[in-house]
């Protein structure tokens, strides 16, 4: 009996279980001691959660782009973070022009809509040409090649925008109507965070319904299931792949402006970290699965904002917020290790992982 067992369980399995178990125990222990120590009040936790939700819904919007592209091309669009960056970075100049001319004070809603429009347009264009120039010729290349191309494109775009718009950190102007607090059920919440959450949820609803209900959406889904079969059914696969990038670019551009309004700054490197986090979110939700990506994004945002305080403070770690990104990356690695199919979906068979 033991012999049989020995042949079938590998050392690596055991090591992995141990790593997983240790992480889990550490988190548990950290949470218990944080809560016992009572370092934070419940209003702190609520603040964390709302911030996390706002940030998470931004990740969710970006993640849909990753997940849709993975669906149709089976590749990680490493440069999606730059698609996200390009919009709000360009929108910044519009915002500044409006701000200087007082347009933002007199017509704030219209101004914001124009900023969104410009940003989404730029992001969409970048995504569209990215696919057309860099990815389309490589459809049938070995898998490593499009990935390397995507990495190259990512750095090219980052430094292109650095060269064009400068390397400084630019502060988005304050917009009167987005400042201040609202009292909701007796809780003081930042207006901007609520607005970000609502806007992101609305956009995701539109996007989801578009994919699920429209003809184009159905065609895109068909292409992600099986390109050849879709082509046989008379679907223009190239056009659908382009459309996918366009939709992903629009979502990313919108997410970018929300991000810029919330954090008030844009710079050429701003896409990198959110990009990787959104990818994490997409994997969390089961890559290729659109609602999964949305949930994954929100979940990741929440964890990221709650975890440093909850898990790490209790372990006696100094300045836990410095490790915020490390937590997100650890999540990424953990998910890739233990559940490459994501928490929601079985869309991706273990083979592809």
């Amino acid at each position: 009996m033991f012999q049989k067992w020995k042949d079938r369980v590998t050392v690596t399995d055991i090591v992995m279980w141990m790593i997983g178990g240790t992480m889990l125990l550490l988190c548990l222990w950290g949470s218990v001691s944080t809560i016992r120590a009572g370092l934070y009040t419940s209003s702190h936790w609520i603040d964390f959660c709302i911030f996390g939700l706002a940030q998470g819904s931004i990740y969710a919007l970006i993640a849909t782009g990753y997940t849709m592209v993975y669906g149709v091309l089976k590749m990680i669009n490493f440069a999606h973070g730059e698609v996200f960056m390009s919009g709000p970075f360009t929108g910044y100049f519009v915002a500044m022009a409006f701000w200087r001319s007082d347009f933002l004070d007199t017509h704030p809603v219209l101004g914001i809509i124009v900023i969104f429009g410009v940003a989404m347009f730029v992001s969409t264009m970048i995504a569209y040409f990215l696919e057309k120039i860099a990815y389309r010729p490589l459809r049938s290349a070995p898998r490593l090649i499009p990935l390397i191309t995507a990495i190259g494109a990512s750095f090219f775009l980052q430094y292109l925008f650095r060269g064009l718009y400068g390397s400084g950190i630019n502060a988005y102007p304050d917009i009167e109507i987005l400042e201040g607090f609202w009292m909701i059920f007796g809780i003081r919440v930042l207006k901007i965070q609520v607005i970000v959450i609502i806007a992101a949820v609305l956009l995701m609803l539109v996007l989801y319904n578009f994919i699920m209900l429209t003809k184009v959406g159905k065609a895109i889904r068909a292409v992600s299931e099986d390109k050849e079969a879709a082509a046989l059914m008379g679907i223009n696969v190239d056009a659908m792949i382009s459309t996918t990038f366009v939709i992903g670019g629009m979502a990313a551009g919108a997410a970018g402006v929300l991000y810029a309004l919330m954090f008030k700054q844009v710079h050429f490197f701003m896409g990198f970290i959110p990009g990787i986090k959104a990818f994490t979110a997409a994997v969390l939700g089961g890559i290729g699965n659109i609602p999964g990506a949305m949930l994954g994004g929100v979940f990741l945002g929440l964890i990221e904002s709650v975890a440093p305080a909850l898990f790490l403070d209790g372990l006696g770690i100094i300045a836990p917020y410095q490790l915020k990104d490390a937590i997100a990356f650890s999540m990424l690695v953990m998910v890739l290790i233990f559940r490459p199919t994501g928490i929601l979906g079985e869309r991706l068979s273990a083979k592809k992982a």
Binding site: K4, D7, R8, T10
Partner: protein, 259 residues
């Protein structure tokens, strides 16, 4: 003498039952053919034997020892080798390297051996090269050892894959449609070759085959699968006239190429 015995093997893909409580026994030094319409589960059967898939239920005994649940690399060490329905060579390696990789299980050197140039490693490498060259000669591909695998014509790729499988010096060889896409001449060569392996090398062969002429000519015993179930087993002549088999083939619609 029974070399391989499969009991109640079941493999499911979601709702689809690809193999349904299969019981097969393979006698040593025979050519045992597996036939059946497309999608019957033949390749899946191979994948379960070689550890690529893990069957949900059932037992596989090879030379009396259970091999179910072992990883593919361990199963090779037990003495089972295979080829693939759609040739899977290492396309960018040379023919020689491909075959030498087949001999991997008989080599021992690790990390330091080659770096330090140990005598045992050098000897072992020379032996591996010799075996590989011999095998290439055996499949009539001598002099082509330095060409990349992907640059060979189809028929030679099949032979190269066979040489690679033979390099592990298996007791049981699983061949998945070795004559697919071959012209009658090449098919005849392949048949001779398979019989030769049984008679001269004493290897037991499980053969998946669509061409009835091949099956009827060289098989010692034939098993017929349909929808993952075994529907008949027997000598080639018995199978030829078996009603269920004929129905299964005709019923499957695509007239299961019995060219």
């Amino acid at each position: 003498m029974i070399l391989l015995s499969i009991q109640e093997m079941t493999k499911r893909f979601g709702g689809l039952v690809a193999l349904d409580a299969l019981n097969i026994e393979v006698k040593g030094k025979t050519i045992h053919s597996i036939i059946g319409p497309n999608g019957a589960g033949k390749t899946t059967f191979f994948n379960c034997l070689t550890g690529f898939y893990r069957p949900e239920e059932g037992e596989v005994a090879f030379e009396g020892n259970s091999i179910v649940g072992l990883s593919p690399d361990r199963i090779v060490y037990k003495g089972i080798a295979r080829t693939y329905q759609n040739i899977r060579l290492f396309p960018n390696l040379t023919a020689l390297e491909n075959v030498m990789i087949g001999y991997h299980v008989h080599l021992k050197s690790g990390f330091l051996g080659p770096i330090l140039g140990l005598k045992s490693t050098i000897k072992e490498e020379a032996k591996a090269k010799e075996v590989a060259l011999d095998l290439l000669k055996y499949v009539k591909m001598e002099g082509k050892e330095d060409a990349l695998a992907k640059n060979f014509p189809y028929g030679e790729q099949r032979k190269l894959e066979m040489a690679r499988a033979l390099a592990s010096q298996p007791k049981l060889l699983l061949l998945d449609e070795p004559t697919a896409g071959m012209n009658p001449r090449e098919t005849q060569d392949m048949m001779d070759f398979i019989e030769h392996m049984r008679d001269e090398l004493g290897i037991t062969i499980v053969l998946i085959e669509h061409q009835m002429r091949v099956v009827m000519n060289i098989s010692d015993i034939v098993t017929v699968l349909d929808y993952g179930k075994m529907i008949a087993e027997g000598l080639p002549e018995e199978i030829k006239n078996n009603k269920t088999v004929i129905e299964a083939y005709l019923g499957s619609g695509d007239a299961a190429d019995s060219h």
